[in-house]
Symmetry: none
Subunit: 192 residues, 4 copies
């Protein structure tokens, strides 16, 4: 009952409601009902509906990014850091099926203002990827001839697309089993 329980209740309810009903069918009243609070209570903790959604993303991505950061800090090479990053990306989303649906499918349907806020949060994650690339450039593991931005686009694009595929296939296979192969594909390419 401590530490603003209602705030967390509402956040968790929002994730579930969006995952179950889809972004466009997620009325405030539905979220309130699932959180077991009155509609008006929502507005004691959030400015408006958009604020709920941004907060969901911020809270959840915050944890996600922190997890990724901590994991790669433990590793000594860019190669290992990248491996860990892929592993964390897959494992964290695997463990929160609702969150995966929300981030990969539903929240992308939001209108521009909200998307803008979401992109800000996403930026922090891209920064983490950039830091791994930067590290690899320093250690010499990655060739300096490459544009780091393109490398990052490849890494994030690949991870994002593979998770989306997994979500759209109803999360029916084990994402984490792909870690090693994806790591090899990204670092070595697929041509002999």
């Amino acid at each position: 009952m401590k530490d603003k329980p209602k705030y967390k209740q509402i956040i968790e309810a929002a994730v579930e409601v969006i995952a179950e009903n889809g972004y466009h069918a997620s009325q405030v009243s539905k979220i309130a009902k699932k959180a077991k609070v009155a509609d008006g209570t929502i507005y004691l903790y959030f400015k408006n509906k958009e604020d709920i959604l941004i907060s969901v993303f911020r809270e959840k991505m915050g944890t996600f990014i922190d997890g990724a950061k901590r994991a790669i800090d433990d590793e000594q090479t860019a190669n290992d850091k990248l491996f860990k990053l892929i592993e964390m990306h897959y494992s964290q989303l695997s463990e929160s099926p609702y969150l995966a649906i929300v981030t990969q499918l539903e929240l992308r349907q939001s209108k521009s203002e909200l998307r803008h806020e979401i992109n800000k949060v996403l930026k922090s994650y891209l920064d983490v990827i950039d830091s791994v690339i930067e590290f690899g450039l320093e250690t010499g593991e990655i060739d300096k001839k490459f544009n780091p931005q393109l490398i990052r686009q490849m890494i994030f694009g690949t991870l994002d697309e593979s998770v989306t595929t997994w979500v759209m296939k109803s999360q029916r296979y084990q994402l984490v089993e792909q870690v090693e192969e994806m790591h090899t594909l990204l670092t070595k390419g697929f041509f002999k």
Copy 2:
């Protein structure tokens, strides 16, 4: 039906209206106005609003996919085919800035049902990518140890993310200049 001039007028109007106003501010009446037809006329050519948007995607992606297919058919190696694929992906979207905005940003805001239909169309493009991978496996250019699905996710994810980045940066740089480097990154990876 699809040969009628009004049908094409409406499709073209829809692309422009969505690119200029964003998905959520693209009312049927706006599309009708830009197409210079009455609101009701729209419904003589399309079942409903969703049908317009799917048709936009189908028509435009059809041309896009045909272009890609024709281009890779001319090449003899998987390596060259992939190079051409990347080049066509970038060049075709570069030449249709409106279309790029619509496919990369706006249409992704549509609700799940529409997204489902869009994914069907997208499937044809993924099939083209798959055919290149298939070809590479047959010629031995690509190692059989890799899961082709993962390779495809990497290729598509990378292309898609790089175009989205370019659109979000207001298309301020030349996408096609990245073709060669992206091709190297995908085929050889970025590790020494």
Copy 3:
């Protein structure tokens, strides 16, 4: 069926709904129902709810003011003009009991923005009163020592208050029977 019948239908319905239910209980849907149109139709003719109310006032006061103007134009002396003004003020409101309720009681409950618009319309009526005073000053009927603004406040305040009293007493007596006495009171005062 000619000359924007829906517009007038809605205006008339609005007057009745406000008079019967009071300003605060006059929902758009109630007005639409009484006008026998769909809720959405209202918005083809009016920008928003406030616009309906302003239009009601403008339309009705327009007629009211025109009536007053035409009546005083026929008279040759300030004395007669004032008499006619009082007569028209009373008779026009007597003939439209709903309108009287709306202008004397309900519309005064509106919020500042709307009140502002209403005051603009009211200003035209005050101008008519001012023109009578002006005329009287020119003919010498009214002593130049008086501040015309104060005279106008006395005339309008008296008429307004007497109509409000009549409305609040449920319009149970004949307002027009007071014309002559009110005219005497205003012009000669009530002291011997």
Copy 4:
């Protein structure tokens, strides 16, 4: 109850909040905040929001009416009594700019039920005016041919309208300077 300090705090806070924010933006929570009490505390002293507003009017008008009564009691003629009445009406409102705004503009926006209660309070003031007229009829200063109700409507309507004009012109001129001229206008009329 009415002697409790919190009661008076809330009344004073209400006047200020309404004058500063307008009737429609005067939430109970705002009044509570300005009165430095909790929202719930309000309901220990007042039945509901309407009760606050009526009490504001009752308390303030009580003082106002008492002032007027005392002033006219000192005078010996109806003429002097009326003069004093006008003077007190103007001076008391001049000295309480907030109160003037609240009574002339904001409280008139309240819904009919509240207006009804306000009118009851106002009735006491009209009684005071009536007593002056009565006195004048007895002394013979006022002609018995006039309907006293109409005289009262003229006096109150004129005073009320002139104060409203002054408030709407942002209280930029001296109301009390008009006392003498208004008195002349009311008693003698403005026709030669």
